[in-house]
Structures are given as C-alpha cells and as structure tokens.
Amino acid sequence: MGEISLEEKFQNTIDKESKIEPKDWMPDGYRKNLIRQISQHAHSEIIGMLPEGNWITRAPSLMRKVSLLAKVQDEAGHGLYLYSAMETLGLSRDESLEQLITGKAKYSSIFNYPTISWADIGAIGWLVDGAAIVNQVALQRTSYGPYARAMVKICKEESFHQRQGFEIMTNLAKGTKEQKEMAQNALNRFWWPSLMMFGPSDKDSTHSDQSLKWKIKRMTNDELRQEFVNKTIPQVEFLGLTVPDPDLKLNKKTGQYEFGAINWEEFYNVIKGRGPCNKERIAARTKAQKEGEWVKAAAKAYSAKKINRRNTKAA
C-alpha cells in the first residue's frame, strides 16, 4: 500500500466528520499545521495572562479582584490543556515555550496592546474572550480529537469570562461620567485589535484553504469576523457606547453589519514584533522561564533522590 491510499483513508475519516486521534496516520503537513495552530493558541492563553494579571493587584473591589484572579487562573488552565493536546503531536511544552521566547512561535496579536485602565479588563473579557469564543465554538468541530475536546472544556469557561467582562463594562457604562469615559476609551482602543484577532482577510490568508480541507479550521477568518461583529454591535448599543468606525452600518437586506477597512499595516507590524508591548511580553516570559529553571531542576533532582531512596530501602 502506498502513501496515497493512507492519505485517502485519512481524508475519508475527515470527510465523515470522524476525529483523527494521536495514533492515527496523518500527513506531515497536517501535523505541522496543527502544531503551529495549537501552540499559537496555547501561547496566546499564557501571554494573555500578562496584560490581565497587570490589574489584579489594582482591581477596584475584592469581588472583582477574586473574579479576575480566577479568570487568569482559567487561562493558565487553558494553556495546560492546549499544551497537552499539542504534545500528542510530538512537540514538548518546554520546546514549544522555547520557541515562544525566541520569537519562532507566534501568539495572538491582541496581547501586544497595553492594559492602561481598569476598563481594559472589562473590554478584554467582553471583546477578546468574545472573539475567542466565536473562533473556538467553530473549533469544537475541528478534525483533531484532542484539540476538539480541549475546545469543548475551554469554551464553557470563555463564555463565563465574556459575561464577566460585559458586566464590568455595564457597570462602568452605567456608572459615573468618569467611569463611562473609561469604558468608551477602552472600547476605542480594543475594537480594531479585536477584529484583527481573526487573522488576515481570506484573500491574504496563507493557511486557509488547506486548513479548511483538513477541517482544522471550520470557518474562514472573514466569516468568523463577521459573526463577531454581528453579535457584538447590539451589545455596544445596549451599553450606550460607540465603536470607533464611522463606516459601520447595518445592511438591512443581508442583516449583516458592514464595517470599515481594517488597518492591516498595523496588524502585520504588531505580528512582526513591532506592537506596543511585544518586547515586554516576551521579556516577562523569558524572565519567568529562566528564573524557573533552578526550581524545575530542584524538583527533578528531588524526585530522583526519592526513587533512589525507595529502591535502596527495598533492596
């Protein structure tokens, strides 16, 4: 049997909507593509802990402090699930984290923007987790089993985060004049970067066609982006805020919100490391990983000693 029939069998499994599992044969390109996507996703979860973690010590009430802590803890958990899913494809977490700090692996560009007011925490929960949900709901049907299952777990928590973020925005938008300004300002800064989270426009996306055929992705970047806008604009209206897009309008015929042009130049610059916080994010990860080395070495040495002692006793 040649590789062609293996490949056919593989594609048949996918076409039948069955899942590919770690031990199944898969084309190299599928494996590589998935490793890229899952690690990028995992890195986004843990880099995302930084801009949000930035406000834990300043949260304006104990209730908010506790729920933000719990949220960021969830994101760490998401990172763990995703790294485990990635490891089933043959790349270890340590290797992958090394690729993150050397810049070889990417993460969501949104986390390269700074969180400069408390309202940013609301905006991130509402918009960024909201955009993540749109993306991830589609990914629950992705063809790789461990990834799809990780998405199911993660989605439940993301909806909770999104509600929490929206609640923060509601309190601010219905609060004092200063609070409302804070909310509008956060929306102004996070709106376009949130739309960019879905990645390049379909006509410029390098990975899209193959990913759709393999059902790694289930919807195109532009479809997902449109769904997010349709879902979010009524919420903006409910809050009594406005998005920073003079071209936004509802197309009565299609029922879709049409929006203005995305600044792709900004997007590509941020992706290439020239965003406002890229350096800080990578520096923070590098520091954590370097300073964690002696701790990991100690834990390893201790468990080796323990096994040794047990064996000596048994002998």
């Binding site: 973690g53 104990l62 209730m63 760490a76 004092t176 609070q179 002696w294 701790v295 070495a297 834990a299």
Partner: protein, 248 residues
C-alpha cells in the same frame, strides 16, 4: 476607631490573609511553570476569599468589605509583618508561605473548637483550604531544600532572611490575650504544634533553623515595614481615585 476584641482578632486574620493573598497574586503569569502559577493563584484566591468573610462579618453601619479593605491606611492594617514581605524568588515565597500556613493551620484547628459560633463555622470551612496550602508549601520546601545544591542554598538563605518575622505570630497583645482566653484558644498548644510541624518539615528539607529568636513585630498594632505602604498604594489606587463611583 475603637475596636472590640472580636473585631481586632478578625482584622489581624483578615488583613494577614488579604495582604499575603495580594503578594501571591503578584506571581500570576510569572511562576516557574504553569502548574505553580495555578497553585499559587489557588492559595491566593482562598486567602482573599477568607478575608472577605471576615470583613463581611465585622462590617457595621452600612460599611462594606471594600470600605474596610480599600479605605484604611497602613496604620490601621493589622496583618503580620511576615505577610507583607516582598515575594523575592520562588523559594522565598515558598518559605514565607510555609511558615504562615503552619501558623494559620494550627490557629484554625484551635478555632474549630472555640466558643464563638461565627469563628467556629469560619474555621471549619477554611481549614480544608489551609490544609491544602500547608501541604503544598511544605512539599515545595522539602523539594527545594533537598533538591540540588543551588536550591538548598537558596532556600536556607530564604529561611534565614524571613525567620525574624515568625515570633510575631505568637506575641500576643493585650486584647488578643483576653480574646484567646475568652474563646478557649490555647496559645501554647498552637505554638507547640507550629514548632513541631515546622521542625519536622524543615528537617526533612535538610534546612537549619536559625538560632536567633529575636524578632521583628508591630504589624498587629499598625507599625509596619516600608513595604505595606506600597502594597496599599497599588491596591487602593483605583478605588480611591473615583470616590463617587458606586459600582465596579
């Protein structure tokens, strides 16, 4: 503000938990591995949660837990000094945590049998969480103390540096002594349990307990280290900058 003995007792515990929880939360996203990030956040969440129940219990005249946490200055905070010491490296954090957890655990154990209904219920609930904290920080103390040479030396230094902040836990001021008696809490028993447990764990960790018993204190009467002011400046900043804001 004149405080009853119960209020003083609750504030010492609540402030200690809040400030230590705050310190732990500074680790968020910066821990050695994701697993430790998650574990430290867990402990932080529990401690802040416990401080909230205590603040809610002593709040009066329409005051909220947030008024107590956000609108007092350093001189009114009653936390143990140990809790406000900066995180340092992971080993510093673990040793600080272990010394506090063992005190916290045996104090709660005493409270589960005390004469105050609220505190008894509070302790029964909290001790389950603190039992986990103690196990976590104890295991890490052993792992790092008995790990590599480097980790051993680092941890011994952490212990030497923080040791002077331990006597304060058992140095009771007058309202506390009266209150311990009224509750039926045995201070000596708590102290002996603490000594035994810390000795056992630190011995297993191959660490040497510093000889000096000279300690720094003052936290419980509002005389703090230089660090607390910065913690509060950060923690209270947003809240105090928008005094008219009702909801967050």
């Amino acid at each position: 503000m004149k405080l009853s003995n119960l209020e003083t007792f609750c504030l010492i515990l609540a402030d200690s938990n809040l400030i230590l929880g705050h310190r732990l939360s500074e680790w968020c996203g910066h821990g050695p591995e994701l697993e430790q990030d998650i574990a430290l956040i867990n402990v932080s969440l529990d401690l802040i949660g416990q401080s909230r129940s205590l603040y809610q219990h002593i709040a009066k005249n329409g005051e909220t837990e947030d008024d107590i946490a956000y609108l007092r200055d350093a001189k009114d905070f009653k936390n143990h000094l140990l809790c406000e010491i900066p995180n340092g490296h992971f080993g510093d954090t673990i040793i600080r945590q272990f010394l506090y957890d063992s005190f916290h655990y045996f104090l709660l154990e005493g409270l589960t049998k005390c004469k105050n209904n609220f505190l008894r219920g509070y302790a029964l609930k909290s001790i389950k969480e603190v039992q986990y904290h103690l196990k976590h920080s104890g295991n890490w103390s052993i792992r790092l103390g008995d790990g590599t040479n480097e980790s051993h030396n680092k941890l011994q230094e952490s212990l030497n540096n923080i040791w002077a902040y331990t006597p304060e836990m058992f140095e009771l001021n007058t309202p506390e002594i009266q209150f311990y008696e009224k509750l039926g809490l045995n201070k000596d028993k708590i102290k002996n349990n603490w000594i035994n447990h810390t000795n056992n764990v630190l011995r297993e960790a191959t660490l040497k307990i510093p000889e000096s018993n000279w300690g720094q204190s003052g936290g419980k009467t509002g005389q703090h280290t230089e660090h607390l002011g910065f913690i509060l400046a950060e923690m209270q900043h947003v809240r105090r900058s928008y005094p008219d804001a009702k909801n967050w």
